[in-house]
Symmetry: C2
Subunit: 240 residues, 2 copies
């Protein structure tokens, strides 16, 4: 019975994968919008995206329910099982990307009450675009099932970290130079950290794609946080 089920259910997981792709599209849009909102001080955009976050939460809960149902009630083949588990885990990462975008939008509301810190928002914009492109690449890799593309996102993880570290130093320098920038600077610190965490989720998704396709969880070595930290002056270490 196992084999019959496995064969006849060859595309059982496809609708689930399509829903994850849809959630991915929504998360991409939220991230693009939150970066625009913070750089343009666009309060209505920030409010709109905060309102839309609920939709991502609901879609993720729905995907989770459907994935568990599929795993529990169908005799899935090994690959199908990995696809369903991957869908479940990627959806969870995307939902958290949505939360981080919402939190950036909330800080945009607070920032709009202060004077703009233009050079800093430009750095945030650059980091935001980098992170958004990482998420786009990894979602392309997911829908196309391209392992190479996923591995590329994974191996370039340190670029986002380097952006974050440089932004962290830049922000502290500003805050030290002018105490009036301390409150907005603190918000920008958290915004930068949230963007870095979105980059981490893109890396997680790359690892999940690797697991889905190969069945293995280990992707080998890549440049690590510790190695990166050695390059930094002690006082400016942002930690994680």
């Amino acid at each position: 019975m196992n084999e019959v089920c496995a064969k006849s259910g060859g595309d059982l997981v496809d609708p689930l994968v399509a829903e994850v792709a849809r959630l991915g599209g929504l998360a991409e849009a939220q991230i693009a919008d939150c970066v625009d909102a913070v750089t343009r001080r666009d309060v209505p955009l920030a409010q709109a995206l905060i309102g839309r976050d609920r939709k991502l939460d609901q879609l993720q809960a729905d995907i989770e329910r459907r994935a568990i149902d599929l795993i529990a009630t169908r005799q899935l083949s090994g690959r199908q099982l990995r696809r369903a588990v991957a869908a479940l885990k990627i959806a969870s990462n995307l939902e958290r990307c949505g939360d981080l975008a919402r939190n950036i939008a909330k800080r945009t509301l607070a920032l709009s009450e202060n004077e703009p810190l233009t050079p800093l928002t430009r750095s945030i914009d650059r980091m935001g675009r980098l992170v958004a492109s990482r998420l786009k690449d990894v979602l392309d890799a997911y829908t196309a099932g391209e392992l190479d593309k996923a591995a590329q996102v994974w191996s370039r993880d340190t670029e986002v970290d380097e952006h974050y570290n440089s932004l962290f130093r830049e922000l502290l320098t500003y805050m030290m130079g002018d105490p009036r920038t301390i409150t907005p600077g603190a918000h920008l610190l958290f915004i930068a950290k949230n963007l870095e965490r979105i980059g981490d989720h893109a890396t997680n998704i790359a690892e999940i794609i690797h697991f889905e396709v190969t069945g293995e969880t280990d992707m080998g070595d890549r440049p690590k946080w510790d190695a990166l930290m050695e390059k930094m002056p002690a006082a400016a270490k942002p930690e994680n």
Copy 2:
């Protein structure tokens, strides 16, 4: 066959639940240690707990594998299925608590290079103990299956937020008063935020226990972030 499986497999999920409880114990210890490390500036303790985090990651991965295997290969009853799904999700929350403790420990290493900010570390200590007690309570509720105790943790979520908001204001005030405190202050901001997020995970776990026992995902209303924010002066809004 379904019914026979359901009956004979009455305690199929028990070993999984025991492993989650074990992971919970490890996470509790990591959180207690990271609070001690930061408040006592204890570098060896911080390094030891950073090293131990790997064990939590491995245990979580193992729980995930076993939970999926159980769901995919056994005919679980509705309650058993919910127990297995809850184990999977609680383990994921605990693993992230471990990550947050590790990150606090890493910042402790950076902080040890600066002058101590004693009154602030005292506030961090208080918040750390509050958050640790929330996690302890919710893990007690999990192993005892006590819905009331879980609901209590869930309904007191805003206490942690209030601690965080007050600490955020206190930190900014310090940083504005003395630019030399800006770098350690920034680390303490992130430490406070990480503690708040550990509190959020305790709340998530309370919601998962509610789902496991009742099969429902909605716990009704509780005091929300927005309501809390109305109480704060605009410039000091910490956002999330």
